[in-house]
């Protein structure tokens, strides 16, 4: 694991340099971006090599006596390392021009510092081989990303987002602590390997606790409340990393726990599928209702985590019902979607960052017609949108295809599996349709049509490194979508490393599926050729004029008359009103010649609404009653500590 640790060191050095060279900001940024990129590149190469030649490499450091640190790299962690390093590499590249006019050198330096720590801690979490190491880097990861979220700490909105994120990540960590505590209570060791020997009821409890803990990081409904606040608050390359990579570490945790517990009950699979379906559908419904571009993308992360969980759930059910192909397809589809989502979601966040950078607004309804001035941003954003909707021939389709096929395998099995499979397949179809509605809204309102306000009129796109990163990601979307066999071995290696009783994997049949996808995509692309040829033939030498849009007889159209994002989505949101209550605010129009009016609407997230009622208020009430404990006297506090220790000694 030598190269891995060297890469981590280079990355940390990069962050460190940005801090000490803060007075020479320009120079510091070049050094930092260079070192971070080199570190990520070297880490990426190491991870890929590790996946190609499957072997388990490990290292441990016993400085801390009982609490020793141990690392291990297997197929699953290798796969996640590829995702982490690849996306962070491009995000670093993107940040070079994105952070150009940040206006505050210290803040930029601090941002790079925590960014480097975030990358390093994510890489160390997925290679951790015992609970101590895992929790240590898990906490560092949460804290460093917290500091990245409050980048604009002078804004109340950012502070609130940071606070919310802080609370959620620590309550989530508490759940993981409880799960690990139960394991420690039974096994008396911090190692991961002893987990398989737990009694079955304890296993279920551990899984549920850790699912809640990891789910709150991953953004599983209803623990996703922090996500739509935190992602927009951070700078766009950080949003890209957080949404594309960091929340996937939660997914890693769920898979890891499932493997370690080694308990193949249908309960786990059903929990995961239900959580996935709920997150998937509600995530995209709330996304439809958003007016803020980055918030909308953040809700789409909830949706995609849902899709990933559906895949994993199908895999788990495949394992418990002893159907190896279903298991492999479900897990492969889920993991493939992890990779795909990290690609297109970071692409979309980068595009949104460019839009924010040039127009200064995140409000969807204030934009319009950007594709005319921002060609590369527009086209790459559209490619990302097509990919996230799961449409062929883009990469999003491939992962969903595997999940579908896995789900269909379950249709042929007994009734309980059958019901779960129907649920999964129909939900995936609905999610796909809703995502399409949502992204046609974004593309249509932000990039097409006419500019709705002045902010969107005079724009350009500059920043070569930003454009390069986006183009690379968009290229990856198309390439993987047409030739999935280039990448498919990565999730397969990860899945075979899970060792869930289906090895050896029927690699041939999966390669056959990827070949089919390639065939289908090629057929489609070739079919387009004659159509294009016909179009060209019939337009040869014809008079082509340009004129205004046909206004159905109305001759004085204005840009204000365009359909807005809110009106576009309202029709669908009506259907989902019970789960997505809509707050509207507009004065009644009176008189023959009404004066200026306004319309405000907001789609409420029921998790957020109920969190206050069900959790926050009772907790506040309880602590209010306990206020007398806190007297502000240090002696009393020391007394409390002593008392607590004595009580613990007596009882344990």
């Amino acid at each position: 694991m030598g190269q891995f640790f060297i890469s981590i060191l280079i990355i940390l050095f990069g962050g460190f340099f940005s801090l000490i060279l803060v007075r020479k900001a320009k120079f510091a940024k070049i050094i930092t971006v260079f070192l971070l990129s080199i570190g990520c590149l070297s880490g990426l190469m190491d991870a890929v090599l590790n996946l190609i030649q499957p072997g388990i490499a490990g290292a441990s450091f016993k400085y801390l006596n009982v609490f020793f640190l141990a690392f291990r790299m297997d197929g699953l962690s290798g796969f996640f390392l590829v995702v982490i390093f690849a996306v962070c590499l491009l995000a670093t590249l993107y940040s070079f021009h994105y952070m150009e006019h940040s206006g505050n050198d210290v803040r930029t330096a601090v941002n790079y510092f925590f960014f480097s720590i975030l990358i390093a801690s994510m890489a160390l979490v997925v290679t951790a081989a015992n609970m101590i190491t895992f929790m240590l880097f898990w906490e560092i990861m949460s804290l460093s990303s917290f500091f990245l979220v409050i980048y604009k700490h002078h804004k109340a909105e950012s502070r609130k987002a940071g606070y919310l994120y802080f609370v959620f990540s620590h309550v989530g960590a508490m759940f993981i602590f409880v799960a690990f505590g139960i394991v420690y209570g039974y096994t008396g060791s911090f190692g991961f390997d002893a987990m398989g020997s737990l009694p079955e009821t304890a296993k279920i409890l551990v899984f549920i606790f850790s699912f809640v803990g990891f789910g709150s990081k991953a953004g599983v409904f209803p623990f996703h409340v922090w996500l739509p606040h935190a992602h927009p608050a951070a700078p766009s390359h950080i949003s890209a990393v957080m949404s594309g990579v960091m929340i996937k570490i939660g997914i890693y945790g769920i898979i890891k726990m499932y493997v370690l517990l080694n308990f193949h009950t249908p309960i786990f699979g059903n929990i995961v599928i239900v959580a996935g379906v709920v997150s998937g559908i509600l995530g995209v419904v709330y996304a439809l209702g958003q007016h803020d571009l980055k918030r909308l993308l953040a809700y789409h992360s909830v949706e995609n985590i849902g899709i990933i969980l559906i895949g994993l759930g199908i895999g788990m059910i495949g394992v418990s019902s002893k159907n190896p192909l279903m298991a492999v397809l479900g897990f492969t589809g889920g993991l493939f979607h992890v990779l795909n989502h990290s690609i297109f979601k970071s692409l979309l966040f980068m595009g949104a960052g460019m839009v924010l950078h040039k127009t200064g607004t995140r409000s969807i309804d204030a934009l319009g017609g950007l594709i005319k001035k921002m060609k590369i941003t527009g086209i790459t954003f559209i490619i990302g949108s097509l990919a996230i909707c799961g449409l062929p021939p883009f990469n999003g389709f491939v992962g969903e295809f595997f999940i579908y096929i896995g789900g269909f395998k379950g249709i042929a099995l007994e009734n309980s599996v059958f019901a779960a499979s129907i649920f999964a397949i129909v939900s995936l179809a609905v999610i796909g349709g809703l995502a399409l509605a949502c992204f046609t809204k974004v593309v249509g309102v932000v990039f097409q049509g006419e500019p709705r306000t002045k902010a969107a009129v005079d724009v350009d796109e500059k920043g070569p490194t930003m454009l390069i990163s986006m183009s690379i990601l968009a290229g990856a979307c198309i390439l993987i979508g047409i030739f999935p066999q280039m990448i498919i071995w990565m999730p397969i290696k990860a899945v075979s490393a899970l060792g869930l009783g289906y090895n050896p994997i029927d690699f041939e049949s999966i390669l056959q599926m990827t070949a089919n996808i390639t065939l289908a995509a090629t057929i489609f692309l070739i079919t387009l050729l004659p159509v294009i040829a016909i179009r060209w033939f019939f337009y040869r030498g014809k008079i082509i004029r340009r004129s205004g849009t046909w206004g159905c007889g109305f001759t004085q159209p204005t840009v204000k008359m365009q359909y807005t994002g809110s009106s576009y989505a309202s029709f669908i949101l009506d259907f989902f009103r019970p789960v997505a209550p809509l707050d509207e605010d507009h004065p009644k129009i009176t008189g023959r010649f009404p004066l200026k009016t306004y319309y405000k609407s907001q789609v409420n997230d029921i998790a957020e609404l109920n969190m206050k009622r069900v959790v926050v208020n009772p907790v506040l009430f309880l602590f209010d009653k306990l206020r007398w404990i806190q007297q502000g006297d240090i002696h009393l506090y020391i007394g409390y500590i002593l008392l607590a220790i004595i009580l613990l000694l007596v009882f344990i």
Partner: protein, 306 residues
């Protein structure tokens, strides 16, 4: 293979003809003579002869819309077994590819509409984005039933050769539900009455027609041809479902198939003549009926068919 390709070419070229049958039926109900059966070919020729006017608001997406929508419609036809023959291409899971390719064409149609900055087209686009979601869920429900019955995930396994007969023998009663369900999907996906009215005169009430308001000339021709092909795709499936017989005589199967097609198109025409379109907010309920029917059919098979 050769037969399949010939049938595929036949499908593309005959699709406009069959769509004209709907107009003829509607004219019959209205007591008129109606346009000639070749009217759609005349329209296409007229459109292809013309030039185009593009809105100053539009971009490349506007020109991509017609290409992708026709391209995906004819791609989808390649995976469809026509008249019980094998499809040109077929693989395990081609259904998912077909449905998502139609999604791709929807994405580009909507994008082309949003490109014009017209409020009417935006309105149509919002509706176009909505109804097919339910249709997709219903279609998947139907294929879940078919998968349960056959264990295969490709159109050829359901609609080529003796497979459709086998489906009937396995689960005749649920298939009746499926035919109705699929017919509702056909009406909605192809913007027919009662989900949408292709002949309405007010832009505010249109769905599909309003989205192509700004297209003209060959571009509009491509779109029209694409929608004829799409309707033909759905009709072929229903035709095979209602007349699945193979009489052992090569020509006869094809005649039966044409008969089935004519029945479907006439049914569409009759429905269009005798009922009015639903109010916009009632359309989702109408579409959900198809989902409910398919769901019910699947549940029946759980208990009665092993």
């Amino acid at each position: 293979m050769i037969e399949s390709i010939i049938l595929w070419l036949f499908a593309i070229s005959a699709a406009p003809f069959f769509s004209a049958m709907i107009l003829k039926v509607k004219a019959f109900f209205g007591g008129r003579k109606g346009p000639p059966l070749l009217i759609n070919y005349y329209t296409l020729i007229k459109l292809f002869k013309k030039g185009s006017v593009y809105s100053t608001s539009t971009t490349i997406m506007f020109k991509l819309g017609p290409i992708i929508s026709l391209g995906s419609a004819i791609t989808v036809l390649m995976f469809l077994p026509i008249a019980g023959q094998q499809a040109i291409f077929s693989f395990n899971g081609d259904i998912i590819f077909i449905l998502y390719t139609m999604g791709l064409s929807r994405f580009f149609t909507i994008a082309a509409a949003m490109d014009t900055a017209s409020p009417f087209e935006g309105m149509g686009a919002a509706r176009e984005a909505y109804f097919p979601i339910i249709c997709e869920a219903a279609t998947f429900m139907i294929f879940i039933l078919f998968y349960r019955l056959t264990g295969e995930l490709q159109l050829s396994a359901y609609f080529s050769g003796d497979n459709t007969i086998a489906l009937w023998n396995l689960a005749g009663a649920p298939l009746l539900f499926i035919i109705f369900s699929f017919f509702i999907i056909l009406l909605t996906e192809n913007s027919r009455v009662p989900a949408d009215d292709p002949a309405t005169h007010l832009e505010l009430t249109m769905i599909h027609e309003v989205m192509v308001l700004d297209h003209s000339g060959p571009d509009l021709g491509l779109i029209e041809l694409g929608s004829f092909c799409k309707l033909f795709f759905y009709s072929t499936i229903i035709s095979r479902l209602i007349l699945p017989f193979d009489l052992g005589f090569p020509g006869l199967a094809f005649v039966l198939y044409l008969l089935g097609l004519a029945l479907v198109y006439i049914a569409v025409g009759v429905i269009e003549s005798i009922i009015a379109r639903y109010r916009m907010d009632a359309v989702p309920q109408f579409v959900l009926t198809s989902f409910a029917l398919a769901f019910f059919a699947t549940i029946i098979t759980l208990e009665f068919i092993r």
